[in-house]
């Protein structure tokens, strides 16, 4: 049995990642809470999308709304990639469930304080909520056994800019704080979520052939992503960074090569804002703080997704 907390800027690929956690067949996964953060879309829209996803899966998970903007930066959004509602323009109806009254940061702090060393954190968006929680409750970092971060680009191939991946770019100060907080961290960077790791035309057809409402949902809400990925990045088909991160969190053996290094985040530069700097050779001689995933087993990642859609 695994207990997890998901922090998310719920747009199309976040929704699929949440679905995977809620429908994982191999082990009992208890999602203790979902916290939303401003990122892909506004935090209110993230909450709406998270609630819909939870309801679609027929589960009861509290959804808490968190930070409405980054720590000190002006918000940056990803509507162009995820669609005007973050869900490919599908305009899903409001879920019956509403967000909880408690602020996400307070709820997360309480959950970890009550369950020290028992809950895995999976972050799929900018790290604003996490930085706030770690700042407000300084002993929290040592009570979280592992945090899987969808974010960064260890090989420096960015998406939102040439040097940065979106989640880290949107709130680089939060990322920097979290990376140096002492909380154990596994970084699943954007470079793992390109090329063959994407769902190509055949893969998408296989998913649709599964025929369940979950399969249809996972493709439909990502339809803007497929289009923008082709037009903007010149990349094939459907990239799914958050689901890949969730797959690794649920089955760490899907990451086949990783290493622990000193990693920091650039907050000063203009061209390098949000760059995740991995000291692979150890030239800075600083203590390693982040486990960086270098390779994943692509067929096993895709099967991890498919089995939650069946």
């Amino acid at each position: 049995m695994k207990r997890i907390w998901i922090d998310t800027d719920t747009a199309s690929d976040d929704a699929v990642a949440i679905l995977m956690a809620l429908r994982w067949p191999d082990e009992e996964i208890v999602v203790e809470g979902i916290s939303t953060v401003s990122g892909n879309v506004s935090v209110e829209e993230c909450s709406r999308n998270a609630l819909y996803t939870v309801e679609l899966c027929g589960k009861q998970v509290p959804v808490y709304e968190g930070a409405g903007k980054p720590l000190i930066r002006e918000p940056v959004f990803g509507y162009f990639f995820h669609g005007p509602d973050g869900m490919g323009g599908m305009n899903y109806p409001d879920a019956k469930q509403k967000i909880e009254e408690n602020h996400a940061v307070n709820a997360f702090i309480e959950c970890i304080q009550s369950n020290p060393n028992d809950i895995t954190l999976v972050t799929l968006g900018p790290l604003t909520n996490i930085a706030l929680a770690l700042g407000i409750a300084p002993d929290l970092a040592e009570k979280i056994p592992m945090c899987y971060v969808m974010g960064g680009a260890a090989a420096t191939l960015g998406n939102i800019t040439p040097t940065a991946e979106f989640n880290i770019y949107v709130d680089p100060e939060a990322a920097k704080m979290v990376f140096h907080s002492g909380m154990p961290l596994t970084m699943v960077g954007w470079e793992l979520c390109r090329g063959d790791a994407n769902l190509d035309e055949e893969d998408i057809k296989s998913v649709m052939d599964i025929g369940t409402e979950y399969a249809k949902f996972s493709i439909d809400c990502n339809r803007q992503a497929v289009q923008t990925n082709r037009e903007w990045l010149g990349e094939p088909m459907l990239p799914l960074p958050d689901p890949i991160t969730m797959a690794i969190a649920l089955d760490p053996s899907i990451c086949t090569r990783k290493g622990m290094y000193y990693v920091t985040v650039d907050v000063q530069g203009e061209a390098t804002r949000g760059m995740t700097i991995v000291d692979e050779r150890g030239v800075l001689e600083k203590d390693a703080n982040v486990t960086v995933c270098w390779e994943i087993d692509i067929p096993r990642w895709k099967e991890a997704l498919y089995k939650t859609l069946r």
């Binding site: 706030l132 700042g135 920097k176 704080m177 907050v267």
Partner: protein, 310 residues
Amino acid sequence: MARKIIFDTDPGVDDTMALTFALRSPELEVVGVTSVFGNAAGAVTAQNALRLVELEGNGHIPVARGADNGIVIPAIELASEVHGKDGMGNTNPPAPKGKLLDIPAAQFIVETVLANPGEITLVPVGPLSNIGLALRLEPKIAELVDEVILMGGAAYTPGNITPLAEANIYHDPHAAQMVFSAGWQVTMVGLDATHQVVMDNAHFDKIFAADNPAVNLLREITPCYRSFFDGVYGLGGAVYTHDPSAVAYAIDPELFEVKKAPIVMETEGKCMGKTIPDEENRWVNYRPTNICVGGKTDRIIDLIVERLTK
């Protein structure tokens, strides 16, 4: 009616003088004390804060522990040569009897402000971490706080911890940015004013001629502090009156001369921690800060001495 204040502090020698001064002033009602890292580590300043409310029968005042580090940057250069490693001039005082609240400082600030809309003045005299965290936890408090009267910054005068920066702001420049740009009324009691409020040997003699728990504690803990000022500034036993000046403003703003301009923060690099007055609104348009630049400095000192010795 007494002015309700939450006193946010990193005791600290001048914090000790400031808090005892506030507790002895009928114009102010201290509804809560929140502690922050700064002059000493977060664990140390929390115990000192408890000690200070108990000192003269104010143990009923709630004390909440806050941040151990800046919101983005870890605590650095803690001023043990100024305030002692124990924040109490290396006098190693006995443990306090009371207990800290169960909730963290940021949450206490939010709850108290929401419960007393329009009535609470925040008086932070250490790094602004708790104030920034509270703002991010509940942005509404920017409309509900009466005023933020902070000790910190150096607008038109050199810094102390660096050539440009004053220590409180330097320890958490990101929190300072949040505070100065939030839209509430901020009054900055910085080095521009405090370096004119000189408490000299004659003043100290007058204070120590009295006999009460506050002055007896100050008599013990000030030697380290006074000799630091002598070493750095050649003041021969006199000190610049930092934190108590902020309390004096809260009691009687007319004692101070003020210039109004929005404050822009430099949060990175060599000039980190510099409080920049943007008088012509070239960079920002948010609410101007009241920047204290001087005042009736003799009367400010007389007020402090009078309250401490009564």
